[in-house]
């Protein structure tokens, strides 16, 4: 059974149709990149798969759970336990340190474990930045803290929306290499949205969306 199963997914915003019947299957442990130009519906698709938004029609099943059928509370719990999110913007709490921002994700999942947060940040090369506030970190470092925050609760699914959109090439490579290592070690599924073909190269499979429809679905060689 597919880990992510999307069938006939549609989404309307008023008179605008963002998704026009998406069918997609992703296997557990895959790294899938969703590509497309701005306004093609790729972020909408990610939001619907992540349960951040409700679909107008169609179905989304993750790990066998139909998320459209879940109540708000159950959906929050499901998201908390199954998924990790990385966005283009870091959405940090500015007055908390890097370690504390990671611990915040632990707190909402279960309980805080500072030692574990330190270990993960150190593993991502931020051992000397644990007590720095977000404003004291570079863009690349901030994005690595975002990754730490996303993976700290051992999610089965990592959803990333333009995670390197704000980074220069050097930091983009560093971030993607980090994700690659974690993906190799962590056995989680990655669904990454980007408009940058360079970023898409890191994925195992690239799904291209245009005008709310999948126009291409190909494996990276």
């Amino acid at each position: 059974m597919s880990f992510i199963l999307v069938g006939g997914l549609t989404k309307h915003y008023g008179t605008t149709t963002a998704l026009k019947g998406i069918d997609l299957e992703v296997q557990e442990g895959e790294w899938v990149c969703i590509m497309g130009p701005s306004g093609s519906g790729k972020s909408t698709l990610l939001n619907l798969i992540g349960g951040l938004d409700r679909a107008t029609g169609g179905r989304v099943a993750i790990d066998g759970v139909e998320i459209n059928a879940l109540s708000e509370d159950s959906l929050s719990r499901f998201r908390r336990e199954i998924m990790g999110f990385i966005f283009q913007q870091s959405h940090f709490i500015p007055y908390l340190s890097a370690a504390e921002n990671v611990m915040l994700a632990q707190y909402f999942h279960s309980i805080c474990d500072e030692e574990e947060a330190r270990e993960v940040l150190t593993q991502l090369g931020l051992g000397d930045r644990l007590h720095h506030r977000p404003s004291q970190l570079s863009g690349g470092e901030q994005q690595r803290v975002c990754i730490a925050r996303a993976i700290i609760n051992n999610p089965k699914l990592l959803l990333a929306d333009e995670p390197t959109g704000n980074l220069d090439r050097e930091n983009t490579i560093l971030t993607l290499e980090t994700l690659k290592e974690l993906h190799k070690a962590g056995q989680f599924t990655i669904l990454l949205v980007t408009h940058d073909p360079f970023v898409a190269k890191w994925a195992q499979r690239v799904v291209t969306i245009e005008d709310g429809r999948i126009v291409r679905d190909e494996l990276n060689t």
């Binding site: 336990e81 632990q106 999942h109 279960s110 309980i111």
Partner: protein
């Protein structure tokens, strides 16, 4: 409070007790998937109702009043539930207190019997006592129909409340907060708050517990210090009573009582929260954290009834802490004058008759001192005239317990039977020689002053040690 509304309050209170216990039991049985035991519980409730009405009717017909004994049974039940909850806590946490007998709790019939007994233990004494009291109220009022109608209204009101509650769809799973241990603890609290058999005045057992604690300390002090350990020690004679008296002062008794009552729930919370985490094999650290969180949440949830019990005890204590003493009859002394070496106590005045069986107090001023004298009719019809002080305690004096009719030392809470009032020694008030005439009782001032000085200077206490 008028007696007829009191009948309503009593029956309403009994009904609310039934509702609370029923909610707790049924929720718990649902939580542990033992709803088949509901039938045993309701059988117990019906049996208890029928038996209590039958027993009360029999007692009324036979003219037997066992309300005091019932109050003692309720107090004992409360104590057993409190102590039992600690035992159940250890049992629940893996310390097998039952030994090989534990296996019998696995039998369906035994479980049914235990659940059947819950209403008997929780409601039977209270219901019998309440019916007896309501019957007494109907006799006092001479309005049996109105009194019983009032009592029935209370039950009907409680039944209505129960019906409304049963229709409510609870979002909170009440049963998930309970284990057998904190269920017992909570049942104890229900008895503590609603264990009295009278109206509002006896809603709580706290004054009774406090009284017993005070008496216990008082007796211990007497037993150990006076008779066993240091009967003639030169350093501890005489004024030592004023030093150790704090042990059976009202404040100390309050503190001990509250400490005693808060002990089981405190132990409960401590044991529940501080229990080492059981081993758990988690695939990831996130899973382990989640497991720990779940366990902690579970423990917090199971501690809530104990915390609530503590809150109820403290609130109940706060609201009734003076009640026990305020209920005693302690009349304001009527000033009398000293004349020609004598103090004259009037035997009757408009609205006052010293032969009415109630405690009467008089006072006269000597120098800077106000000396109190108590006068009371004994069961044999004679009049006792005494100093309002005893040989042992500081001269706090005595009050009369309206229910029992006897005197009680305000300082150490020792009850004094009326037959011994007027006899010298021990905890009795110090008797005064009085010449009782038709209108007055005459006492020599010199005798009053000498005996009062002995009390004040501690001479009476020294004499105890020389005995």
């Amino acid at each position: 409070m008028s007696l007829i509304p009191e009948a309503l309050v009593i029956s309403l209170r009994e009904g609310i007790k039934v509702i609370i216990v029923t909610i707790l039991i049924l929720s718990y049985l649902k939580e542990i998937n033992q709803t088949h035991l509901n039938k045993a519980y309701f059988s117990g409730v019906i049996f208890t109702l029928i038996f209590s009405i039958g027993a009360a009717l029999y007692l009324v017909i036979q003219g037997i009043d066992i309300r005091s004994e019932i109050a003692s049974i309720i107090g004992l039940t409360f104590a057993l539930l409190f102590i039992g909850s600690i035992g159940a806590l250890y049992q629940y946490q893996g310390v097998n207190l039952f030994g090989p007998l534990k296996v019998i709790t696995q039998f369906k019939r035994i479980r049914e019997l235990i659940v059947f007994l819950v209403p008997l233990i929780m409601f039977l004494p209270g219901l019998i006592g309440s019916i007896l009291h309501i019957n007494m109220v109907s006799i006092i009022m001479g309005m049996a129909a109105a009194t019983y109608l009032s009592a029935s209204s209370g039950f009907a009101l409680a039944a209505g409340i129960g019906l409304i509650i049963s229709r409510v769809r609870w979002r909170i799973k009440i049963g998930s907060f309970f284990t057998p241990a904190n269920l017992l603890l909570f049942f104890g609290i229900v008895l503590l708050i609603g264990g009295g058999i009278k109206g509002f005045a006896e809603m709580s057992l706290i004054p009774a517990v406090q009284m017993r604690v005070m008496k216990l300390f008082h007796d211990l002090v007497h037993m150990f210090i006076t008779f066993l350990l240091i009967p003639d020690h030169p350093l501890i004679a005489g004024r030592m009573w004023n030093t150790i008296g704090f042990l059976f002062s009202a404040g100390a008794a309050e503190a001990f009582t509250i400490g005693l009552l808060l002990l089981p729930p405190s132990v409960f919370i401590y044991k529940t929260m501080a229990e080492p985490l059981p081993a758990f094999e988690a695939k990831t650290r996130g899973e382990m954290r989640k497991y720990i969180k779940g366990l902690k949440m579970e423990r917090r949830r199971k501690s809530i009834p104990a915390a609530l019990a503590m809150l109820v005890i403290l609130l109940s204590w706060y609201t009734v802490r003076e009640e026990g003493f305020n209920r005693w009859h302690n009349p304001k002394p009527i000033p009398v004058a000293e004349s020609e070496g004598h103090v004259l106590i009037p035997l009757a005045r408009p609205g006052m008759d010293v032969m009415d069986g109630s405690l009467h107090k008089f006072s006269f001023v000597h120098g800077d001192e106000i000396i109190r004298i108590l006068v009371i009719k004994r069961p044999d019809g004679t009049l006792s005239v005494c100093l309002d002080a005893c040989e042992i305690c500081p001269p706090e004096g005595y009050a009369q317990r309206p229910k029992e009719g006897d005197l009680i030392c305000i300082y150490c809470k020792t009850p004094i039977p009326l037959m011994t009032v007027g006899s010298p020694g021990g905890c009795n008030p110090i008797p005064l020689k009085a010449l009782v005439g038709a209108k007055e009782a005459m006492i020599e001032s010199a005798e009053i002053l000498k005996k009062y000085q002995d009390v004040k200077t501690g001479k009476t206490k020294e004499s105890i040690h020389k005995k």
